[in-house]
């Protein structure tokens, strides 16, 4: 295995959540992305929206990209075999939109046969992505979906008729790849189950991270290092149940010098994390926004080589590559905060802020 070609890029990121859970349209996220036009070059844009399929909220919503119409047969027979498909439809698009060679998108609301759960869905998604040529599952969560492609974000939004959806949380991405794969699957966000990741940067530890994740059953097929982020987060948060505050210290751990100055208890924990999760240290310049139902967080690399800022206004919580983009959609802010390298900024639904989640953040990670 000599590995895939990796795509290099730099990007603009934005995320917004209404912490009360009210749903709203795509206006803010699209405006914010437009404001950061210089951060993209029209070769990739995309969105993830949460809370958009209340009618099918108990079913996995598979957004499937089909490079040729013929491959749909294979996808559907695979799905029929492994899932109960309750609804299947082509994702409505606007053929007038200014986008580059759009493929066809279908969405399927499915339930695994025999009460299988998340791991089963992940493995079937991997199977489609690696085994069915020309078909890619671009999102697979419940009550959420990813819309992405080759074009500026506002054009992608127009293509997918995004203004017709309403969600309580949106994230957006504008991309500036240094080469031109012109491949829709390579746009952000990356998603697995209800986890979505948008990423700005280039991971210099890519090879290390990728090979570790392969050992854990994640195969990077989408030709970009952002995938590594998505899988790392899935492994640590979903499979191993670690809270964001700890995951942040795995992806962007403090320097040994800093650890050396900590009290004994913290020293022990941070050392254990670095020893155990060394292959998941994400090195190089990066900022990510990770979203899943109920919460999203932004974090930048340990020496803060890429920008990130957060803002709050009432129930709204924003995180973005630039403060200007936040101000463009919400001029008056209650609070603006720029985190340190490796320090996560978190926006959660109020109902999620309750006891159990708060207890997962100890003083060590405060």
């Amino acid at each position: 295995m000599r590995g895939f070609e990796k795509v290099h890029d730099a990007c603009g990121l934005f995320g917004v959540i209404d912490r009360s859970g009210s749903r709203f349209d795509s206006d803010m996220v699209v405006t914010a992305m437009k404001n950061m036009k210089v951060r993209g070059n029209g070769l990739g844009g995309g969105f993830a929206a949460y809370g958009i399929y209340p009618d099918f909220k108990d079913y996995y919503a598979l957004h499937v990209m089909l490079e040729t119409p013929e491959v749909r047969k294979d996808v559907e027979s695979f799905l029929e075999k492994n899932f109960d498909v309750v609804n299947a439809e082509e994702i409505p698009t606007n053929s007038e939109a200014n986008v580059f060679r759009p493929p066809v998108f279908w969405r399927y609301f499915v339930m695994p046969k025999n009460d299988e759960g998340d791991d089963y869905v992940v493995s079937k998604v991997m199977e489609i992505n690696t085994k069915i040529d020309g078909a890619y599952v671009i999102s697979s969560g419940k009550n959420m979906g990813v819309f992405k492609g080759v074009g500026f974000p506002e054009d992608i939004a127009e293509f997918f008729l995004l203004h017709e959806y309403r969600g309580y949380m949106w994230i957006g991405h504008s991309r500036f790849p240094t080469n031109t794969p012109g491949w829709w699957g390579g746009a952000h966000p990356f998603n697995i189950l209800d986890w979505s990741v948008v990423h700005n940067g280039e991971i210099s530890s890519y090879g290390t991270n990728k090979r570790y994740l392969e050992m854990r059953g994640y195969f990077c097929t989408l030709l970009t290092d952002t995938e590594v982020m998505a899988y790392a987060v899935d492994l640590l948060m979903r499979k191993q149940g670690l809270p964001i505050e700890i995951v942040a210290k795995i992806l962007a751990p403090p320097m040994w010098d800093q650890i050396g100055r900590m009290d004994e208890k913290s020293k022990k924990i941070y050392t254990a994390l670095r020893i155990t999760y060394a292959p998941l240290l994400i090195n190089g310049p990066w900022t990510i926004i990770v979203a899943r139902h109920g919460e999203m967080f932004g974090i930048t690399d340990r020496i803060r080589l890429r920008p990130i800022t957060s803002g709050e206004k009432g129930d709204l919580f924003f995180v973005s590559s630039e403060e200007a983009a936040i101000r463009a959609v919400c001029g008056e802010l209650d609070r603006v905060y720029t985190p340190m390298g490796g320090e996560p900024v978190v926006g959660r639904l109020y109902k999620f802020e309750k006891a159990e989640r708060r207890s997962q953040r100890g003083e060590v990670f405060a």
């Binding site: 590995g3 210099s204 890519y206 990728k210 240290l281 020496i303 003083e363 060590v364």
Partner: protein, 512 residues
């Protein structure tokens, strides 16, 4: 010099290996060369007031050339040669003649010097440009700290009332400040002073030295926390304290220079202090059996691994060192499953104090390919983090080490480079017990030439220089912690390699 031979004596047909040239205009007849050469090449003829040289004995160690106060000496490969023949090289003809005269197995020291492809020289490194800023190690932290030992798949925490507690108990891990350790070189094979220099340097720099299979003298046990102590087939110098003072216990199965062959310390080298450390009678040959006679299978190995863990109260990682042979990947996987915490693999270019030349030069595979295939195999089986992988045999500079780590090693053992730092010139005469540099000898006159204070300083300088260079290379790649290089084959590209070689190394060709 003898000109007349008795009937049964044979006249030697050998050519000298080195030419000893003495520039008469410089030589002041101080006789320094005579005193420096343990092989007895130089002599002074009072009658004619001239310095003479018996070239047949010269091994080209360059001691005399370095020490000559007037730099009057030039020692170089002897120009006299046979008719050029691509098949029958000078070395082949000479070796054959030597055997016709002696009837013996040819012994040698150091590592294989044959021109098998050196993959390091066909691999180039990456650097950050534009999309990824390079990091300046002179201005920003650059971390080489490495942990050797088994790692968990995941950590468990408890979160009680806002208090985070680590529930998982880590396996024993040993912290080193640079991913460079000193290879196994036993007291016996090398001099006391050389051995002590390695121990001092490891302790000063925060890394490890390896006792080899010759035990650890009582008064050096204070260096135990920087020691990897070996348990080899001869069990020399093994006692409970030996294991318990150490950082790591290593079971030696094989050595890159002589896979399948045990150690051999000739009786002449078994002096009183060595006999005490090894716990064998003075003057007897210390012969380690080729196999460990309690290990005829992987289950037996597992038994010994756990016996050593018991003996050390499960507080120390246990390493298993093997030579890289054809199916090294499968063997390594077995070792990981047998319970080892560290696997050390030693490539065909690994050094030795004494080995049959025919074995040294023909058995084993290059370490580059072995690292790649072992790492890949362990990953495919999902057990890579159950062991640390230490590579040995064939590192010549810090770039080789960076490439080894990017291929998948956690750290490297360096033997030959450490010897060269102390003065070795690779004359390959370690097995003779005469080492003009005081390294590979038990002759008190010779070994006192090596001052541990100075030699350890040279070793520390080497570690420092290479570590700094590694930091430079990491920074150039936009990486600030060594763990982000480990197994990061994206950082490597092959030049001038065939498809199968790229495949085994798991790297792309340059330009790909």
């Amino acid at each position: 010099m003898k000109f007349l031979l008795k009937k049964e004596e044979m006249f030697s047909f050998m050519l000298p290996e080195f030419l000893v040239e003495r520039r008469g205009d410089r030589c002041i007849k101080c006789r320094v060369c005579e005193r420096q050469c343990g092989f007895g090449v130089h002599s002074y003829d009072e009658m004619s007031n001239t310095m003479r040289a018996d070239e047949m004995k010269c091994v080209g160690c360059q001691r005399c050339a370095v020490m000559c106060p007037t730099k009057a000496l030039i020692i170089r490969p002897h120009p006299s040669d046979y008719r050029p023949n691509a098949n029958w090289t000078r070395e082949k003809i000479q070796d054959l003649k030597k055997q016709a005269e002696s009837g013996g197995v040819i012994l040698t020291g150091s590592g294989c010097d044959k021109p098998y492809r050196i993959y390091w020289d066909h691999i180039v490194l990456n650097a950050a440009q534009v999309t990824n800023p390079a990091i300046d190690p002179l201005r920003e932290p650059m971390e080489l700290r490495t942990f050797l030992g088994r790692k968990h798949d995941k950590l468990e925490f408890s979160f009680d009332g806002g208090e985070v507690e680590l529930v998982t108990e880590l396996y024993p891990n040993v912290q080193i400040e640079t991913p460079i350790l000193f290879s196994a070189m036993s007291y016996g094979a090398i001099s006391y002073n050389a051995f002590k220099s390695l121990a001092m340097a490891a302790s000063e720099y925060g890394t490890l030295f390896n006792t080899g299979e010759g035990g650890l003298p009582k008064e050096l046990r204070k260096f135990g926390k920087n020691a990897v102590v070996q348990c080899a087939s001869g069990r020399f110098g093994v006692d409970p304290e030996y294991f318990n003072v150490a950082a790591i216990v290593e079971i030696k199965i094989g050595q890159g220079a002589k896979p399948g062959i045990g150690g051999h310390l000739p009786g002449e080298k078994v002096t009183k202090p060595i006999s005490e450390t090894r716990m064998i009678p003075e003057g007897t040959d210390a012969l380690s059996p080729a196999p460990q006679h309690d290990i005829y299978s992987i289950e037996d190995l597992s038994t010994l691994i756990y016996a050593l863990k018991e003996a050390t109260n499960y507080e120390k990682p246990v390493s298993v060192k093997i030579a890289t042979v054809h199916n090294v990947a499968a063997i390594a996987s077995g070792i990981a499953r047998a319970g080892a915490d560290i696997i050390a693999i030693d490539g065909i270019r690994g050094g030795t104090g004494a080995a049959p030349k025919i074995i040294r030069d023909n058995v084993g595979i290059p370490i580059e390919l072995a690292i790649a295939s072992v790492d890949e195999r362990l990953r495919r089986e999902g057990i890579r983090n159950k062991v640390s992988l230490i590579a040995a045999g064939g590192f010549r500079n810090s770039a080789d080490i960076v490439k080894a780590i990017a291929l998948g090693a956690d750290a490297v053992y360096i033997g030959t480079p450490a010897l060269i730092a102390m003065g070795c010139t690779l004359c390959q005469k370690c097995h003779t017990g005469i080492c003009n540099w005081g390294i590979c000898t038990q002759d008190p006159q010779l070994s006192k030439r090596l001052n541990p204070e100075i030699a350890s300083k040279r070793l520390v300088n080497l570690l420092k220089a290479w570590s700094n260079e590694i930091k430079e290379m990491l920074g150039a790649m936009g990486i600030n912690a060594i763990e982000s290089l480990r197994g990061n084959r994206e950082m490597l590209r092959g030049v001038g390699l065939q498809e199968w070689e790229l495949e085994v190394l798991g790297i792309k060709g340059a330009g790909e």
